[in-house]
């Protein structure tokens, strides 16, 4: 493989000097809604919806500008101001608009805008609507900071910002203890990943004296293999936390406690893919370390199987989709771990996944809306007649994710499986199996939700959602269908200068290979098995008993929480209680003990002060006698 030189950014001119407005507008609106209070209750959500649309327009204009440029001029750096100057260090806040960051900006603001529109309907009767929209805007601003930053420190600010927004939105319904706990869990698990991220940045600062992408890219070839591996693995730890990759995956399933638009935007389409962005952005580091690359690929492969396994066993529609999200991000990580051949495909899958998964999450929200917020698929059934729009749009997302020919996921996932197959037979085989399992659990979801017999709870009357919620579904269903055809020939060549790959010269039509045909066959088998199990007979309304250890493990999230509790939480608690005991017994004991001794001595002496003046007199006389005795004895001797 030959590595193309990545672009050297050119200074921002013209419109690019206003790139910061993309971040500033949603941030300002978030501040307005949070600070102005109840005054904005009536109209705040409309302002909040306009903000990401405005950012989208800016991103679109910049994108078109880049598109018209010569490929060598497509990275634009906009230096905003000096953030910190201390000694020989100078940290600047700057933005980098290049082919990679602009497609992210388009995805975030595009999908984000649609989800804002959807939320107008979804959150219409929620008392906390203004707060919800403020947090969503905060998230958009933070996520744009993350992808538009031109150095790792500013990236980290966005990284923490999206973590904060995620925490606030998962636990949005704080009155539910499960939601409050889930938010806290996501926050704590993300801290573990952030530790890796921070250490990676420290190492970069120590190695390169700077954390800007340009300096890191320039300095990376001079790294020793040890330090390259160290930075690569630390960045991977950060990516694992944010992208819910094994072993830091446990928070994502609980994160479904948040409102469904949040699950669609943050925990499916954008924030959880930040880890993939990080790995692809750090391609210069990974190019120096095969070990780190392999680690990324293995983490991705394990997660894609892990998530698919969980997705098969869940009855909660959102948790099936969450398992599926983990699994699809696993595919992206796998592609990113393959190297320059895979980077563009990782981003390609990230984009198509952003469309179809947001579409399906919003569809699930629409189903819940009609079913009194019930998430148990065992209480659904036969909904296709009652929610026709939701059904059709969801079906588009379904066909896209399983990789039905000509749909979006078909292109992006096939590329990854093929690249994995060429890279290593084991990874390729795992990716292939994952595709079959994906087809299995997604078909199960479709059959249980939209087909079969009614298993509704008493008093539930499903109804289609209002137009304000259907419109985003339709707008997301369209790219779920056409994004593959539209981007297949273009995306790899577009991203190549930014991620250091080569344009493989693809066309809009699929290039059929034996692996591609095998994938289709595996997908067909997955659908068939799913239909055999769930499509023919009635589905029990209660969770059926099973002795199958695979299903039991899947229902328990593969014991991820049990593992964390046994290996990390309990020893941690034992350690803290041991430290507390030592502090209380030994340290406090010594301090309190010496005080006790002094106190006891003092209270003994105090008894001499008995208040009888004659006994004082006797004491003085006795003292006098002792002194006199000494004098007399001294004279005699």
């Amino acid at each position: 493989m030959t590595l193309l030189e990545t672009l050297t950014p050119v200074p921002a001119t013209g419109l690019f000097e206003y790139a910061w407005l993309m971040i500033a507008i949603p941030l300002a609106v978030a501040g307005l809604l949070l600070l102005a209070g109840k005054v904005t209750d009536a109209w705040g959500h409309f302002v909040a919806t306009v903000a990401p649309i405005a950012s989208f327009v800016i991103a679109l204009v910049l994108f078109l500008d880049l598109l018209a440029r010569d490929p060598g001029q497509r990275a634009v750096s906009s230096q905003l101001y000096d953030w910190v100057t201390a000694g020989s260090w100078t940290f600047r806040i700057g933005l980098l608009v290049d082919p990679l960051s602009i497609v992210f900006a388009l995805l975030i603001t595009g999908v984000g805008s649609l989800i804002h529109v959807y939320s107008i309907g979804y959150m219409a009767h929620d008392p906390g609507r203004r707060r919800f929209f403020a947090y969503l805007n905060l998230f958009i601003a933070a996520m744009l900071t993350l992808v538009l930053a031109d150095n790792y420190l500013v990236l980290f600010v966005g990284w923490e910002g999206v973590g904060l927004a995620s925490y606030l939105l998962i636990s949005f319904w704080q009155h539910k203890p499960t939601a409050a706990t889930a938010g806290k869990k996501a926050f704590v698990v993300n801290r573990v990943g952030d530790l890796g991220m921070v250490l990676a940045i420290f190492t970069m600062l120590a190695m390169f004296g700077s954390s800007s992408f340009v300096d890191v890219n320039a300095g990376a070839p001079g790294l020793s293999s040890f330090w390259a591996t160290a930075i690569g693995v630390l960045l991977l730890v950060g990516a694992c936390g944010k992208s819910a990759q094994v072993p830091l995956q446990s928070w994502l399933l609980d994160a479904m406690e948040g409102p469904t638009p949040v699950s669609a935007l943050i925990h499916a389409a954008t924030m959880v893919t930040a880890g993939v962005y990080l790995v692809v952005r750090s391609h210069a580091i990974y190019a120096q370390s095969t070990t780190a690359m392999t680690a990324v690929a293995i983490v991705g492969t394990v997660t894609l199987l892990f998530g698919a396994w969980i997705g098969c066993a869940k009855d909660d529609i959102k948790k099936v989709l969450a398992g599926s999200t983990m699994s699809q991000i696993g595919y992206m990580m796998l592609a990113a771990g393959i190297g320059p051949e895979g980077y563009a495909f990782a981003i390609f899958h990230l984009l198509t996944h952003g469309f179809f998964k947001a579409n399906m999450f919003l569809g699930a929200g629409s189903v819940m809306h009609g079913m009194h917020d019930d998430v148990d698929m065992r209480h659904y059934g036969a909904l296709r007649k009652y929610l026709p729009w939701t059904f059709v749009t969801f079906a588009m997302g379904y066909l896209a994710i399983i990789g039905f020919p000509m749909f979006a996921g078909f292109y992006s996932k096939d590329h990854i499986i093929e690249a994995a197959w060429e890279h290593s037979t084991v990874l390729g085989l795992c990716a292939l199996i994952g595709a079959g399992v994906t087809a299995f659990y997604m078909t199960r979801l479709m059959l249980m939700t939209f087909f079969g017999q009614k298993r509704w709870q008493e008093g539930v009357h499903p109804h289609e959602s209002p137009a304000v919620m259907i419109a985003p579904l339709v707008l997301l269903a369209i790219p779920s269908v056409v994004a593959g055809v539209a981007m297949n020939a273009w995306i790899a060549g577009w991203l190549a200068p930014a991620v250091g790959g080569e344009d493989p010269g693809l066309h809009w039509y699929p290039h059929l290979t034996p692996v591609g045909i095998a994938t289709m066959a595996v997908v067909a088998v997955g659908i068939g098995v799913s239909w055999w199990l769930f499509g023919r007979g009635p589905i029990p309304a209660a969770v059926p008993y099973t002795s199958n250890p695979f299903i039991i493990a899947g229902r328990h999230d593969l014991y991820g929480d049990a593992f964390n509790e046994t290996v990390l939480m309990r020893p941690g608690q034992a350690l803290t209680s041991a430290v507390t005991t030592i502090d209380e017994k030994v340290v406090d004991g010594a301090v309190r003990g010496s005080a006790e001794v002094a106190l006891g001595f003092g209270s003994g002496l105090r008894r001499l002060q008995n208040g009888y003046v004659r006994s004082y007199g006797l004491t003085m006389v006795l003292g006098l006698l002792v002194i006199g005795l000494f004098l007399v004895i001294g004279r005699l001797v």
Binding site: N610, G611, Y612, R614, G617
Partner: protein
């Protein structure tokens, strides 16, 4: 003339004062015992002033007298105050000021 007799007299007076202070309960008697001890000291001062032929001891004894007079003024008023509130001049009853 030998100073011995004066020294012995002073020692006897001082011992009487000490014993009186230790064995009696009435505050006024205690007071008188203290005066006895002070005056035995005065006697010694004067004796030795005479013995050595200078005025240092006599000056010291004047100081003691002045201090004793001041002490009597303060002490008696305290005793009177205690007597008024407690209807007793016994020092063993006035033992509130303790640990």
């Amino acid at each position: 003339m030998s100073a011995d007799a004066y020294v012995i007299l002073a020692a006897i007076l001082f011992s009487i004062g000490v014993l009186g202070f230790l064995v009696r309960r009435n505050a006024l008697v205690l007071f008188m015992s203290v005066e006895l001890m002070l005056n035995s000291c005065n006697l010694l001062f004067v004796t030795f002033a005479r013995q050595w032929g200078n005025l240092d001891g006599q000056v010291a004894s004047f100081f003691v007298m002045v201090v004793a007079a001041a002490e009597v003024v303060v002490g008696l008023s305290i005793i009177v105050a205690i007597f008024r509130t407690r209807r007793s001049a016994s020092v063993d009853n006035a033992n509130l000021l303790k640990y």
